[in-house]
């Protein structure tokens, strides 16, 4: 009889700051126990950039702010049995979603780009242009939470979520015993 294989975990950071990936490292020494049960597949941690086989768990950090984020997220949904939105950006857009409404503008994306590249008081942009190279992913009209693009199975809240909640959720999912979070451990920041 063959040994049961390790669960395959894929991760990606979309419109996020990699803080949630850092938070995965906050699992600390329990990572050793976790790594006996899982292996990382497509992930910035392994530098594997495409799916070559189906994965058991996909972990998404960040929402969708450009075209490439959307394609990557759909690719994760296709290739992962269970998809987890990790952190507030993946869940509701998070900090990048500030550009959706808080600019108080009829055209928030234009205003955001103009301030970032043209009119901001502390700028040095010698080209005087908003970057528009065809190789750059097309930026979306607004930042979308992951659940608006694909079905998300579980959401782990936090900015960033604690190592404890990530670890306990992953272990419960691996055991097939996840029934929800301890309310006392929930944080939205």
């Amino acid at each position: 009889m063959t040994e049961p294989r390790k669960a395959r975990v894929a991760t990606v950071s979309l419109a996020g700051c990699f803080g949630c990936h850092m938070a995965i490292l906050d699992i600390d020494e329990r990572l050793i126990a976790l790594m006996e049960r899982v292996e990382f597949d497509r992930s910035p941690l392994t530098d594997i950039k495409t799916f070559n086989r189906r994965c058991d768990i996909g972990i998404i950090e960040g929402g969708c702010c450009n075209e490439e984020n959307v394609h990557t997220l759909i690719d994760f949904r296709k290739n992962c049995d269970v998809l987890i939105a990790l952190g507030q950006c993946a869940i509701m857009g998070g900090l990048p979603a500030m550009r959706n409404a808080i600019m108080h503008s009829a055209d928030p994306l234009r205003e955001c780009l103009e301030e970032a590249y043209l009119t901001g008081p502390y700028l040095r942009n010698t080209t005087r242009l908003i970057p528009n190279d065809p190789v750059l992913p097309l930026i979306l009209d607004k930042v979308y939470p992951c659940s608006e693009i694909v079905d998300i199975d579980y959401q782990i809240p936090g900015c960033a979520p604690s190592g404890d909640i990530i670890f306990s959720t992953l272990v419960a999912l691996l055991d097939g015993k996840f029934t929800g979070f301890e309310r006392e451990t929930l944080r939205f920041d």
């Binding site: 959706n100 607004k142 659940s147 998300i152 929800g180 979070f181 944080r187 920041d189």
Partner: protein, 249 residues
């Protein structure tokens, strides 16, 4: 109906006096009924409906707001059940969607009752509602106070506090239906007689009324709701009562 009487919340006998609301009696008995617009020291409004309970039995029962509904002898109240809490969670979730509630950037985070309510009601599933993402005003005109109305949930606490406690009427509702908003009695907050010491400036459950110069003063881990779920103080009263009774024995 003159003297004290009993009624039941989730099958537990609760003592009440005539004129007490269901919530007042529950609070005294150490039973927490979730609420956002209601706060100790202000008159009841029954606006947010988060305190909705069912009275009069499961099938024929009627949904009422516990903060305004008077307790009655023999009343059967359904409070902490999956069905009630599901409705409350949907209400709270819709409040998140109606405004711009970005917890990671908000200085009220950790002290915010809306956020704490979402935690208590397990608001963790992927949302089924669209984010409305309205464009609302930020009023930083006052030297000591700022208003970020993106975070306002129209609970009306500041209105009641300003009218009833401060006797000023700095805040009031304007508009109707979904367009009803809290507004200030002047061109902006600087053109009202609002003052930092007003009771109205200390009752906001969310990060709308901001006391300038105080943001992020309390470190993560020491903020109000880092110490326990919203309502744990009220639920703690039940334990205290028992301890007091035990002490007397």
């Amino acid at each position: 109906m003159n003297g004290p009487f009993q009624f039941r919340i989730d099958g537990v006998e609760v003592a009440a006096t005539p004129g007490q609301t269901i919530m007042e009696a529950a609070d005294a008995a150490g039973i927490y009924i979730p609420r956002l617009c209601d706060v100790e020291g202000l008159r009841h409004q029954g606006g947010c409906r988060v305190c909705t309970v069912k009275v009069g039995g499961k099938a024929a029962g009627r949904s009422v707001s516990a903060c305004t509904q008077p307790a009655e002898p023999g009343l059967e109240v359904e409070n902490d059940t999956e069905a009630r809490n599901r409705v409350r969670r949907d209400l709270v979730e819709m409040l998140f969607h109606e405004g711009n509630h970005l917890c990671p950037i908000c200085e009220k985070s950790g002290n915010c009752e809306l956020q704490a309510m979402a935690c208590r009601l397990d608001m963790t599933a992927a949302t089924r509602f669209p984010y409305l993402e309205p464009c609302r005003d930020l009023d930083a005109s006052h030297p000591d106070i700022a208003l970020d109305t993106n975070r306002c949930i129209s609970c009306g606490r500041c209105i009641r506090a300003s009218q009833d406690v401060d006797a000023k009427g700095v805040f009031g509702y304007v508009g109707r239906g979904i367009h009803r908003r809290v507004a200030v009695n002047g061109a902006d907050l600087a053109h009202t007689d609002a003052a930092l010491a007003d009771h109205a400036m200390s009752v906001c459950p969310v990060g709308c009324i901001i006391r300038k110069g105080e943001g992020f003063a309390t470190p993560i881990g020491a903020r109000h709701f880092d110490h326990g779920l919203i309502g744990h103080e009220i639920e703690g009263r039940a334990g205290e009562d028992l301890a007091r009774k035990d002490g007397r024995k």
